[in-house]
């Protein structure tokens, strides 16, 4: 099994490229869906202790919308498309032309939830299929599942497999956002790719990087 202590700068660069390619395709898909230009930040790839894993989305208790998929196949792992809850509400509001959508309200919101699930599914599908092409690995997403809750509560589920091996996770985090002048009103979303510990070796091997980077 690949040890996180052995991660080199070369490995991290390779994982960054994965975030770049995957989220790039997802951003294009979202841009077509919304009819707007979507920007993508340089991915961050970090080996993080579990306790700090929610920092990127505003803290452990920050309410988020999260679409989760398990990745099965040659390199199993977990994938999230996560947004602060208010921004997730706004994104789906735009898509459905319904400004009343609020995922934090106690309304059932079946239409909005189903739309959000499908958006997550399309974006994660775009991410994974480009990743699969790039690495020549067979990666199959499970059907998506949706949760609106505290960031830590939803992310910890994706850490279960990883936690059997240690207290750190490799997180490939790419932020996408609407192009626009008003920063406060830009919809931002995060893709989190959490490879299972055994998968890193498969990914590095497929890209011709050896254990020593």
């Amino acid at each position: 099994m690949f040890q996180y202590e052995h991660v080199t700068a070369g490995h991290l660069d390779m994982l960054k490229e994965i975030g770049n390619i995957g989220a790039g395709h997802a951003a294009t898909a979202l841009s077509e869906m919304l009819g707007k230009t979507i920007d993508m930040n340089v991915p961050s790839v970090r080996v993080v202790p579990f306790n700090q894993i929610c920092d990127a989305v505003g803290g452990d208790e920050e309410p988020v919308t999260a679409v989760f998929l398990r990745i099965e196949g040659d390199a199993p792992g977990s994938m999230y498309f996560m947004m602060p809850a208010a921004e997730g509400s706004r994104l789906i509001g735009q898509l459905l032309n319904d400004s009343g959508i609020d995922f934090l309200s106690n309304e059932p919101n079946a239409m909005g939830r189903s739309a959000l699930n499908e958006v997550g599914n399309i974006l994660a599908g775009a991410y994974l299929s480009s990743l699969s092409d790039f690495t020549a690995l067979n990666l199959k997403p499970t059907p998506p599942a949706l949760a609106v809750d505290m960031a830590m509560a939803v992310l910890s589920f994706g850490l279960i497999e990883i936690s059997k091996a240690g207290d750190y996770a490799i997180v490939i985090d790419t932020e996408i956002s609407e192009t626009g002048s008003d920063n406060a009103l830009r919809t931002k979303g995060h893709f989190f790719l959490l490879p299972d510990p055994d998968s890193l070796e498969a990914v590095f091997h497929s890209l011709g990087v050896n254990e020593n980077g």
């Binding site: 099994m1 579990f50 306790n51 929610c54 452990d60 208790e61 309410p63 989760f68 934090l104 106690n106 499970t142 059907p143 599942a145 949706l146 949760a147 609106v148 809750d149 505290m150 960031a151 830590m152 509560a153 939803v154 992310l155 910890s156 589920f157 850490l159 279960i160 497999e161 936690s163 059997k164 091996a165 240690g166 207290d167």
Partner: protein, 162 residues
Amino acid sequence: MDKLVKVGMADLNTAKVPQTIRTSGLGSCIGVVVYDERLKLSAMAHIMLPDSTYARSGVINRAKYADTAVADLIGLLEADGALRSRLKAKIAGGAQMFQFSSSNEAMRIGPRNAEAVKDVLASFRVELVHEDTGGGSGRTIEFNPATSVLNIRTVNKGVVEV
């Protein structure tokens, strides 16, 4: 001395009056607090997995597993003078954050965590005073050893005190 003691994921700690102790964002994980009402001592863990036999590496983080974490909580309290026979516990968490169409056993980690914690508490004969487990909501909990009240917060249902 910090007034509020924070317990992270796969972590444990102790608190005595006037401190309170908190862990946030419990999903399928379990927050378990064991306390001695008379000495106003408490210890809390944020557990991720039911049993330390799940561990794949040699050196394990004992705070991560129900069996080892509960044993350590009891040990820490006893080292501070608590009596085993007086210890009580409250637990919260073990939710199923995502509903899947497939019924994969791995997806049921929350309920399995809850069962495991209850079994371990019973094996140490620690009385379980309150349990708020299952459901589909994340929880943040804070325990006050002065009053033995556990504060449970969810995103949608606000705060309850038990």
